[in-house]
């Protein structure tokens, strides 16, 4: 058993729901007890979808368990077919149905419906949501295309001279982070380098569209968590190369374009960033100087976390003080990235562990999921959401991609907005005892200092909670002089805990029993950046 307070991912059948809800002409029949229909609200409330997910539930209850639940499965499938006339039915089960072993997939296939019926295996006790989405899309693509796979050794037909290369955009799904707008942005970007889009899937795709996947020259793997496996199968089966760079951030966009150039055999050497690409100039603008070295903690799915770390470090001049993911399947990528930034990778889906690590790292900005928003709020640290799972406010009405040049603009604004402006920060450091312009106040452009104050207080509380443990190691002897304690309070709260620990370590190593103002500044010089 695993103790869980908040979870980053739902069970695997939620992943299957994300795939069918993304698509048209596909329906999922879920063998699931009463109550599992809650999942509809993820789509209709969080993402504000105007239609119910194309999912039928058997809704079995205790009284059916004694009787014939298999009959209930067949009836549900038949009624779904009669009512919705989908082009394809997927059949799966949720955690409870898995235990009663009705084999709904086999039952469905025995019904001889006049459309393809695919049985999904979604092991609820070992796998999670992203795996379920990946597996469902893979089974669906493979199921529809396996009879069309050319014999091994068949040469791939060359595209006509002069014809522009075509790409499939794979991975965007319902409930994915900003997928809707990323698709628009990447389609524009490809257009600008002379590449057409063949099929976008699963978002907005029908089974017919899936059948057209092999017509593209290559696949763009936008969200590896969802389509890594499918891209790999398409590469092996149809000889379609995969573009693996995820175009989040200016550096990655250029790598992405270069990779496409190599794979598609087109000249992209002269492709310039459009004039609407403003991140680079905004970041070089002198007012951004105050962003330098801001301590940032990053946690999310692997794709967005790794991309955020690169942007934070190379494009905003932040210091990455924490990097992690809940996506164990992609831990390797995050470990490699963490090595580049000299931080210990955090691979966990335990919300409490993430919270402890964030508190420990004393970041000035947290980039994370909906869960890290909670953590940051509690610690009184600014936060921006960069990855699913996200809440309703992260499905904005406006165009707000993460990918491509406009995505980089959006990210610059989103990350910088919660921070204190440069001059404001200076003034607060200078006049620390100003009664209305103190560290507990929120950035003035965000208004409502009342909101921020409890958060700031809790950040102080963390300092205090760290203090005793640090001192206890040598509690019998080491003390802080009153004036040193006063001086410590003048240090910005988000680094105060660290200053306290460093000073105590410094004193301990030198056998200093009373920490004075002098000791504090000696330690500051010793540990200074």
């Amino acid at each position: 058993m695993q103790l869980t307070l908040w979870s980053y991912e739902g069970p695997p059948h939620i992943g299957a729901m994300r795939i069918v809800t993304s698509m048209t002409g596909v329906h999922l029949v879920l063998h699931a007890p009463q109550g599992d229909t809650y999942a509809d609200l993820l789509f209709t409330m969080i993402e504000r979808r105007s239609q119910r997910p194309p999912v039928s539930y058997t809704s079995f209850q205790a009284r059916e368990l004694g009787g014939d639940t298999a009959e209930l499965v067949k009836r549900t499938i038949q009624e779904t077919f009669d009512r919705c006339r989908p082009q394809l039915i997927l059949v799966g089960e949720s955690c409870t149905a898995e235990l009663i072993q009705d084999q709904p997939g086999a039952l469905a296939q025995g019904m001889e419906l006049p459309i393809p019926v695919l049985a999904l295996e979604l092991p609820a006790y070992t796998r999670k949501e992203n795996w379920g989405a990946s597996e469902t899309f893979y089974q669906l693509v493979r199921g529809l295309l396996k009879s069309r796979v050319p014999a091994p050794g068949t040469e791939r037909e060359l595209r006509h001279a002069g014809a522009r290369p075509l790409a499939n955009l794979l991975g965007p799904t319902a409930l994915g982070f900003r997928c809707r707008d990323d698709v628009v942005e990447i389609t524009r970007l490809l257009e600008s380098i002379g590449v057409g889009v063949n099929v976008v899937a699963p978002l907005g795709a029908s089974p017919q569209d899936v059948l057209r996947l092999p017509e593209a020259d290559f696949n763009v793997c936008l969200y590896p968590e969802i389509v890594d496996q499918t891209c790999d199968w398409l590469r092996r089966s149809f000889g379609q190369p995969t573009i693996k760079t995820v175009p989040i951030g200016i550096g990655a966009i250029h790598d992405f374009i270069a990779e496409i150039g190599r794979v598609a055999g087109i000249d992209v050497g002269t492709t310039a960033a459009p004039s609407s690409a403003r991140l680079a100039w905004h970041s070089r603008s002198v007012d951004s100087t105050y962003l330098t070295g801001k301590r940032v903690f990053i946690f999310g799915d692997a794709t967005h976390a790794v991309a955020a770390a690169r942007m934070a470090s190379e494009e905003l001049g932040f210091t990455v003080v924490g990097l992690g993911t809940y996506a164990r399947e992609f831990a390797r990528e995050v470990r490699e990235a963490a090595k580049r930034y000299g931080v210990e990778p955090l691979i966990t889906d335990d919300y409490l562990e993430v919270e402890a690590q964030v508190a420990q790292a004393h970041p000035e900005l947290v980039l994370g999921t909906q869960m890290e928003r909670h953590i940051a709020k509690r610690l009184g640290v600014p936060c921006a959401v960069i990855s699913a799972p996200a809440h309703v406010q992260d499905f904005p009405a406006r165009y707000a991609p993460q990918m491509g040049f406009e995505g980089a603009n959006v990210i610059f604004d989103t990350w910088v907005h919660p921070l204190m402006m440069g001059l404001e920060e200076h003034l607060i450091t200078m006049f620390r005892e100003d009664f209305e312009f103190h560290e507990g106040a929120a950035p003035s452009h965000l208004g409502g200092s009342k909101m921020a104050q409890p958060g700031a207080e809790s950040a102080l509380a963390i300092d205090d909670s760290i203090a005793p443990t640090a001192v206890e190691t040598d509690a019998a002897v080491m003390t802080w002089a009153v004036d040193a304690e006063q001086e410590l309070k003048k240090i910005p709260f988000f680094v105060r805990g660290k200053a306290r620990r460093n000073t105590e370590r410094f004193a301990q190593e030198r056998g200093i029993l009373t920490i004075t103002v002098e000791t504090l500044y000696d330690a500051k010089a010793h540990f200074g950046r």
Binding site: L3, W6, E9, T37, Y57, E79, C95, T96, I100
Partner: protein
């Protein structure tokens, strides 16, 4: 206009079976854990259970929640791990983190039920282990047995054997069902003015303050979904009063009257004590009635509050009931309410979602009360909706909330009329 005839015959109830669109009983944890402030709810279930709780709670609770899920893993199911040992370990972890916890509810789920994990035995074992520090209870919130609010019934039922005995010479009035603290305080004041001084509430705000029960207990239900708990309290000697539920002026007055009659308090006193709050409520209600009168409403089956709320909206707000559907009809508890419903109302028990939506599309009522999953799709079809879950979370009982309750239904209509886009 014809004069409506009241008194609905249960023989006319249509029973439906099919896909259901309601939460399971685990959803009750969302309000129960806020009400019982020293309790922790540990669901023994799957990742789905954890995900449901988190979705139903809307990730709206910024404090560390006093609920969690012990997620069953492959090794628990394969028998490689001893589920009881695993549970003990998880419970120790929870209680280690939260020394302030005085009671722990082990909450059964669909998977724990299917694998026949005996949480009752586990609760006994853990109660003995943590004796003097934490009381451990168990109940089922499984979707196999419970629909949405029924999870509160199974939870409170688990407390009944632990209620202290009321001394044989004493009387008390026991109010059953979670009420917001502000409403509890209002009712306590009203009962005091009426001359009933020993009023207890189940669930209590702290588990240490479990109310006593015995032959001197008169029992009033504040919520309609607590039939099993009511029956268990009757077995412990309590007398169940027959009354409508305290929604709206009529319901609240009938509910208070049942108590005063049982306590032998003169009708004049009831009239005197309630006159001012009733006048206040009527005045506030009149504004909402102007907005709701003549509007047609359908209830999809969800919270089991449908019948009393339909009665309130029909009789005090002038709404026309198109269909009133309820997941489960407690015929005995609901009898006083059914007597007040229009005789020709279309009553449905159970659910066959697709058939129901077809009727809804034909009826096209002005307002549809439904769960969160359906609201936006119905809005997109041009139907105004009211989320039923809000009715369980908001203070809606009693005289002083009657207008607030009506306003919850008026708001979507007002908004619909306001918007020009």
């Amino acid at each position: 206009m014809t004069t409506p005839v009241f008194g609905c015959d249960v023989a006319n109830v249509v029973y439906e079976r099919g896909q259901r669109q309601a939460f399971c009983g685990l959803a009750g944890i969302v309000w129960l854990h806020r009400k019982i402030q020293d309790a922790f709810f540990l669901v023994v279930g799957s990742r789905t259970c954890a995900h449901l709780l988190q979705s139903a709670a809307g990730v709206m609770i910024f404090a560390e929640p006093r609920f969690a899920t012990a997620i069953l893993q492959e090794r628990d199911l394969a028998g490689m791990a001893d589920c009881n040992q695993e549970l003990d370990r998880v419970v120790a972890e929870v209680l280690g983190r939260r020394p302030d916890i005085k009671s722990l509810f082990l909450v059964g789920s669909c998977p724990s039920e299917v694998i026949k994990l005996d949480l009752n035995k586990a609760a006994e074992r853990l109660s003995a282990q943590y004796q003097g520090r934490v009381q451990v209870f168990d109940y089922s919130g499984s979707g196999l047995d419970t629909t949405f609010t029924q999870g509160e019934d199974t939870c409170l039922l688990a407390l009944v054997p632990h209620l202290p005995a009321l001394p044989a010479t004493e009387r008390n009035l026991l109010i059953l069902g979670t009420l917001p603290d502000v409403v509890e305080d209002q009712f306590t004041r009203l009962f005091t003015e009426l001359g009933i001084n020993t009023v207890h509430f189940l669930p209590p705000r702290r588990i240490e303050a479990l109310p006593p029960v015995g032959a001197g207990t008169t029992l009033l239900l504040a919520q309609p979904f607590l039939g099993e708990t009511a029956r268990a309290l009757q077995k412990r000697g309590a007398t169940l009063l027959t009354a409508p539920f305290p929604f709206g002026v009529e319901g609240t007055l009938g509910w208070l009257r049942a108590a005063t009659e049982a306590w032998g308090i003169a009708a004049e006193r009831l009239d005197a004590v309630t006159a001012a709050p009733i006048a206040r409520a009527q005045q506030a209600l009149s504004r909402q009635r102007a907005l709701l009168s003549g509007k047609r409403i359908t209830f999809l089956p969800d919270s089991q509050l449908e019948i009393p709320l339909a009665r309130f909206l029909a009789r005090e707000c002038g709404m026309e009931l198109v269909e009133v559907a309820t997941p489960f009809l407690e015929r005995q508890l609901m009898a006083p309410e059914l007597a007040l419903l229009p005789a020709d109302v279309r009553l449905t028990e159970g659910q066959d979602l697709e058939a129901q939506l077809e009727r809804l599309r034909t009826d096209r009522p002005d307002l549809t009360v439904c769960g969160l999953g359906l609201a936006n799709p119905l809005e997109a079809e041009g139907l105004r909706t009211k989320w039923s879950i809000e009715l369980v979370f908001s203070p809606v009982h009693g005289f002083d909330q009657a207008a607030d309750l009506a306003e919850l239904f008026a708001r979507p209509l007002v908004r619909g009329a306001l918007l020009q886009v």
